[in-house]
Symmetry: C2
Subunit: 350 residues, 2 copies
């Protein structure tokens, strides 16, 4: 019997984080008797008078949203990070009790005034405006001397803790570099120092050559299921050129980014013909004023659905206490995403 990565349990290494993932390819076959998710397929109005993100509405904090026509951003009324706090520190008993004040701020990014849309249902031109707003926010927030990391992300779908279906994302900007980007910074630095190229430029070149994990490609970007994916249909959108941060993308590259973002999310929605939930976000260079030629920006998508529109992967017991674990291979998932149409199922002519 020969070892076979399509059938036998194995571990794969994530060179960006330096961590191993447990892969159990045969496991998706077990019957599922556990929790099923609700499908949210209500028809939403273009404008909802009760939505605190719709144009012209009053938010909980009392502020009134302007009549914005494309994108709109504001400070989160219930921010997890605050700008105006004193600093403080604890370090006691051999470092067993350590704490440190953390300054930062949280913003909400409305993708469109249309309450009834999602990224895959928007025009590429509208998505390009989202990319532009991210660039503006990253630049502005990053300029604050105490902000060293700007985390752009989106929670899509109530199963991902999203409490408002209005298309929006968030930005949390802060003093420290958080854990996930810090791990990636370290490994990219080591690779760059060793090979004189970014880790992801070598990786992407090889992935395009192999093709088996690529799900979409345009002139400047590639969307792929990473070799070390954790979530069932996890993907990454990566620029082919080594670009450290979104503000370094050319105008043409920004268009290509918007195009890839739409193409990938349309394919996602088409898999189970449902608005595909995920958390997504951009990993890029810290805003510490340094150059960071080792950083190669990329956008990560972590979608929880596994078998159907209602059965997700639970990252629980073993995964929380021991190790990330997945039930299908990256190659199987990639084939499934790749084969989907670029036409959104809702817009398909019958």
């Amino acid at each position: 019997m020969e070892f076979n990565f399509e059938d036998h349990p194995h571990r794969r290494y994530n060179p960006l984080t330096g961590e191993w993932i447990q892969v159990s390819p045969h496991r998706a076959k077990r019957p599922w008797q556990g929790q099923v998710e609700k499908i949210e397929e209500e028809q939403r109005p273009e404008h909802d008078p009760d939505c605190y993100l719709c144009a012209g509405n009053t938010r909980i904090g009392g502020e009134v949203n302007p009549n914005y026509t494309d994108t709109y951003s504001f400070q989160n009324d219930f921010a997890a990070l605050l700008e105006d706090i004193p600093s403080g520190e604890v370090n006691e008993h051999n470092g067993l009790f350590r704490a440190k004040s953390e300054r930062g701020l949280c913003k909400v990014i409305c993708f469109s005034p249309r309450h009834d849309l999602t990224i895959p249902e928007m025009e590429v031109g509208g998505i390009r405006k989202v990319v532009d707003l991210w660039c503006k926010e990253y630049a502005e927030l990053g300029t604050k001397s105490y902000i060293n990391h700007v985390q752009i992300f989106e929670n899509k779908g109530s199963v991902m803790g999203c409490s408002n279906p209005h298309p929006h994302g968030q930005i949390w900007a802060q003093e420290s570099v958080p854990l996930e980007p810090a791990k990636k910074a370290e490994n990219q630095k080591t690779y760059f120092d060793t090979y004189g190229k970014t880790l992801l430029s070598d990786y992407v070149t090889e992935e395009i050559k192999q093709g088996t994990r690529v799900v979409y490609e345009n002139e400047h970007f590639v969307a792929l299921v990473p070799y070390w994916a954790v979530w069932p249909f996890e993907t990454m959108i990566v620029p082919k050129r080594a670009v450290a941060r979104i503000t370094d993308l050319t105008e043409e590259e920004k268009d290509a980014f918007a195009d890839a973002y739409k193409a990938l999310t349309v394919k996602y929605d088409n898999i189970f013909e449902v608005s595909f939930p995920y958390s997504a976000g951009i990993h890029q260079a810290p805003t510490d004023g340094e150059d960071h030629p080792e950083w190669h920006m990329h956008m990560c998508f972590y979608p929880p659905l596994l078998r159907s529109a209602t059965v997700k992967k639970f990252m629980v017991g073993y995964e929380m206490l021991a190790n990330a674990q997945r039930d299908i291979t990256a190659e199987t998932a990639a084939a499934r995403i790749r084969e989907q149409s670029l036409e959104h199922y809702k817009q398909r002519s019958l």
Copy 2:
């Protein structure tokens, strides 16, 4: 304005994993408009003819469960790890593509033949039998030459991906030491080499002195909300004596472990008067044949509920992409658990 850990956002350090946690104490105040969980409060029968864990029933794989009277364990019919696979390895393109076969096995541990019970509703004597079975399994699995780590865990509640309410846990045993225990091994080793004592013996001594995070204590064990807790009501049960593995506990300590396990889970159920969901598991020395005096075993509880029986904490966007984050302080959570009665709400005389 003075910095104040009860009100201001800060980070805390986890000396076991070497990672920082973002704490946003003020954030639990925000209104919740997102997903609510179903409460599972059906009356279950003592024996369910359709349950594949009940005594005497036939499992999906065709095997028949014996008429067990206390605990029972068997190999998982849909195991994520397999014993009988060939070995294989990939290491290509500057280490960007690395994979390795992983041998192991998965077992299911039935806590009781009673389909209608959960740990907090069982007698301490019955829980002690669960501890004994864990010891037996840890010893037996650990003796296999290729098994270096034995992960004992439980997923409780459908919100934690548990697909059968029959009281049970799991054991996944494998070749490699998974990520979470590997991090803890490293930091405990450094501490032990520096101070000649286990990290957790110093930590527990100080916690007992301070008292603010302790939720239950008996002669040999303490249950507490760690200073660096991530989940809203996260706790740890730790032996006061530096014990590397459950099989090193004395008979009296095993009784005390069962007692603390029951006390903590009764308090959990009482918080929202609902069967409190969680993933729990034991971190202890690897089964590599070495002594590991640096290891101090402990059982971790990761419960997702935050505000009520139906509103959980979502570890999504920021948490997945950036950093673990919590919305209340460890001290607030500890006070809430500590004040709960040791009498289960279902058994309370009216």
